[in-house]
């Protein structure tokens, strides 16, 4: 850097350290009000990309204590913010300019919406007087994002814009979480104001009642008491409601087996005797047997996604359904709830827990569930002379790391192996794209997770070769910020899940799923400034993992796995969970 170069933000802050540390931003205009609103909300990190219409807001960040992480692409910013929220339990913040900046955020906002993740997006907009004129970099951002946000706002006044940002923040984490967006015309950001935005306050009427109706609780409890085969189904809502302790206490008190959904992974430790891991399309055989044969399904914080239920007609067909959810609209949306309990998961689980007088007799049922674990083991073969099995790689990483290690993934086969063969023990350690199924989520999510995690926690991104190609530019961010993350690419040179479906349902016609050529990811990582490994054989796995974990910075291991490896069990789309296939010829 030449001696005339302007200081970086960090240098500038260091030189003013004695006066400016932990001083909240002074409000002088719309932009400083926006930044002050974020500070009042306790925001410490924001992810984004600069650009014309958002420049005033970025300028206000110069003097703020908020750490901004410049991402390579706005999609990366939205995924990083999303994962930051998943790991930290506080909403993630992402910023982008108008037009392409805002539209590039869309995938991450939609992803957060499908997974009910709290996320705030702040987008620049052309000046108010140019809105509607098809100005340079103008997009109808509130129009585009209306269906994928909990609510969005078009800021129209410098005096109130700070309060609006605070409201958007509060709303995103109130009740059922979800993304919110504030569109910020440049003149509103520039406009003078001295109005402090105050503490973030959700809009009136948006805060739900935590406790469920007590008569409804009594009716549900009666159903549990008379059940012979009760089963808990814990969704991502249990983690979002910080209700894992209540969930664990409940199943242990009454000896009720539990399955989770994919977003619910970590609710109950997967090595717990009562835990059957997760159910659904690629869930364990034992989870799917249990959900098929239960006579009383206690579902908490789940929206009965089709990847969980399989065909509606054959889903838990003999079960009375107790559905605990904070969002009344989820009750009987996909699966009819015989006993709807609307409220906060932790509160309602305690209500139910305390109201049970005669616990159901579950000994035989628990034994049956354990027997299914033996009947449908997740074992695989690892012949030394055959290509590397992806399951082996996942298990090797799990063994080499602590229980609090955070796993992020892209979407596809690698995601399923990472969820099946890693034994998750704690909430907020599994970070993935479930509802939207966004390939490319893994690397930016690992970056966001890294900023939210404790320094002692490892962050591992399992990625597919296809998923990694979609957002790998974010590796530049990991190098620049010297983030200690490890990317494990399970490389089969296919869009593997599509290839698996083509083999099963399209007569093996590998249309547009076969890459034939992949970059050498280890060398590419080195070119980015990260550490790279390539692994082809079983005997190289342990060393590469050890090296990557020891390296204090971003590392990439390109595992060349068996290209024919497929994900099982598999419930074909719309099929019965109990009829999961264990091999291709069963499909």
């Amino acid at each position: 850097m030449s001696e005339h170069a302007p200081p970086t933000k960090e240098q500038a802050q260091e030189s003013e350290a004695s006066t400016s540390k932990s001083t909240p931003t002074q409000v002088t205009d719309g932009s400083t009000a926006i930044v002050r609103a974020l500070e009042n909300a306790g925001v410490e990190h924001a992810f984004g990309v600069q650009g014309g219409a958002i420049m005033p807001v970025y300028d206000a960040l110069w003097d703020s204590e908020i750490t901004h992480i410049t991402m390579a692409h706005e999609q990366g910013a939205s995924h990083a913010a999303d994962a930051y929220g998943v790991v930290s339990g506080t909403p993630g913040v992402c910023l982008a300019t108008s037009g392409p900046g805002a539209t590039n955020l869309v995938t991450g906002i939609a992803d957060a919406s499908m997974d009910s993740d709290a996320l705030i997006a702040l987008t620049g907009q052309v000046p108010s007087h140019m809105v509607g004129s098809d100005a340079f970099q103008e997009t109808d951002t509130t129009g585009v994002t209306a269906p994928i946000t909990k609510h969005n706002y078009f800021a129209s006044d410098s005096d109130t814009v700070g309060k609006t940002v605070g409201e958007a923040f509060a709303l995103s984490e109130t009740g059922r979480p979800g993304p919110t967006l504030v569109d910020l015309p440049k003149d509103v950001s520039f406009g003078e104001t001295d109005r402090d935005p105050g503490e973030p306050t959700p809009p009136p009427g948006s805060t739900p009642t935590p406790a469920a109706d007590s008569a409804a609780v009594d009716a549900a409890v009666a159903a549990i008491e008379r059940a012979e085969r009760p089963l808990c189904l814990f969704g991502g809502g249990v983690i979002k409601a910080e209700a894992c302790e209540e969930a664990r206490a409940f199943i242990h008190e009454y000896d009720i087996p539990a399955v989770t959904t994919m977003p619910g992974i970590g609710t109950v430790p997967e090595d717990d005797e009562l835990c059957l891991s997760w159910a659904g399309m690629h869930g364990t055989g034992y989870a799917n047997m249990a959900i098929t044969h239960t006579d009383c399904l206690i579902a908490v914080g789940t929206r009965f996604d089709d990847r969980l239920t399989g065909g509606i007609e054959t889903f838990a067909p003999e079960a009375e359904v107790i559905h605990i959810d904070i969002d009344p609209a989820e009750i009987s949306k996909n699966i009819h709830a015989d006993y709807p309990l609307i409220g906060d998961a932790a509160t309602v689980l305690e209500q139910v827990h305390d109201a049970i007088e005669t616990p159901p007799a579950t000994r035989e049922w628990v034994e049956q569930c354990s027997a299914w674990k033996d009947d449908y083991p997740m074992d695989y073969r690892t012949p030394e002379d055959e290509p590397l099995r992806p399951e082996f790689v996942v298990e090797a990483f799990d063994e080499a790391t602590d229980d609090d290690t955070i796993v992020t993934t892209g979407v596809g086969q690698h995601q399923m192996w990472a969820s099946q063969y890693w034994t998750y023990k704690e909430p907020r350690t599994w970070v993935s794209s479930h509802g939207l199924g966004t390939m490319g989520y893994g690397l930016p999510a690992a970056i966001g997770a890294r900023f939210a995690a404790d320094d002692s926690q490892d962050v591992i991104c399992f990625d597919g070769d296809g998923s990694f190609l979609m957002t790998m530019q974010e590796l530049s961010v990991a190098v620049r910020e010297n983030l200690d993350i490890t990317v494990a690419i399970l490389n089969n040179e296919y869009i593997g899940m599509v290839r698996q479906w083509q083999d099963a349902f399209f007569e093996g016609r590998h249309m547009a799923s076969e890459y034939n050529w992949m970059p050498e990811f280890d060398k590419m990582a080195e070119a980015f400034g990260a550490k790279g490994w390539r692994v082809d054989d079983y005997d190289e796995v342990a060393d590469a993992i050890e090296g990557a974990l020891e390296y204090d910075g971003p590392s990439v291991i390109d595992f060349h796995i068996d290209p024919r490896a497929n994900v099982y069990p598999m419930v074909p789309s719309g099929g019965a969970n109990g009829k999961f296939a264990l091999t291709e010829d069963q499909l």
Partner: protein, 234 residues
């Protein structure tokens, strides 16, 4: 349900060990496509019915597109939608006529209630007061007959000229349908229907918790329309 000896020690080369699907027990029960467990004694096809749903909303920019976007995104069947201000400054009432199954109507109401600008949602009873307005432009060849039919339906002539006559009829949906049928004989050139709007009968509030504007703040009575209007097409 489990039992017989079964060899799980060696998984297949590609895939997992375990009993194949046809050798597993499967429960007899079923659910309907709406996720309701089927009672074999009383199995019935889901019936579609018409519901009038009233939503009290904050009259902010974009509220109508949020509501209509919700309907298209979730594929709710909507027959009509009307919107207009209430006596409370900044509020508007949206009246929706939907045709859905019972769970579908519940979803409509719950999803509407989740929209931030929507303050309150209610479904109107069958005895609710409903009305719709239609404007019809018909050929003006037989003005006396048009006038007679208009009177029959308590309508008004809004515009009359040598070539066209435009009339207005208000009432419930079936009255409007009948009136349109009756006017067909003259040849309907253009038609505009507002869709139904409705209020609950008697003291029942149309949407739960709804309160009128405080005394003295009610907006001025709307002006009575002047009829008949001046000729416009000669």
């Amino acid at each position: 349900m489990s039992g017989e000896d079964h060899d799980n020690s060696t998984p297949p080369k590609h895939g997992l060990a375990g009993r194949p699907p046809e050798e597993r027990p499967h429960p007899e029960g079923r659910r309907t496509s709406q996720g309701i467990r089927i009672d074999p004694e009383a199995e019935a096809e889901p019936r579609v019915r018409q519901a009038v749903v009233s939503a009290l909303v904050e009259n902010e920019p974009g509220v109508l597109s949020r509501v209509s976007g919700l309907f298209s995104r979730r594929q709710f069947n909507i027959e009509s939608l009307t919107v207009g201000p209430t006596t409370v400054e900044g509020n508007a009432r949206i009246t929706l006529v939907v045709e859905e199954t019972e769970p579908g109507i519940e979803q409509v109401k719950k999803q509407l209630a989740k929209l931030k600008p929507v303050m309150s949602v209610g479904e109107l009873d069958d005895d609710a007061v409903r009305a719709e307005l239609v404007l019809m432009k018909v050929h003006g060849d037989e003005p006396d007959k048009v006038h007679a039919i208009t009177q029959m339906y308590d309508g008004q002539t809004l515009d009359a000229g040598p070539r066209t006559i435009t009339v207005q009829v208000t009432g419930n949906q079936s009255k409007i349908d009948d009136a349109i049928d009756a006017f067909r004989q003259f040849g309907i050139i253009e038609i505009a229907r507002t869709g139904q709007t409705a209020l609950a009968r008697g003291a029942t509030p149309t949407t739960p918790g709804e309160e009128p504007a405080p005394e003295g703040t009610i907006a001025d009575e709307p002006q009575k329309p002047q009829t008949p209007a001046q000729h416009s097409d000669d």
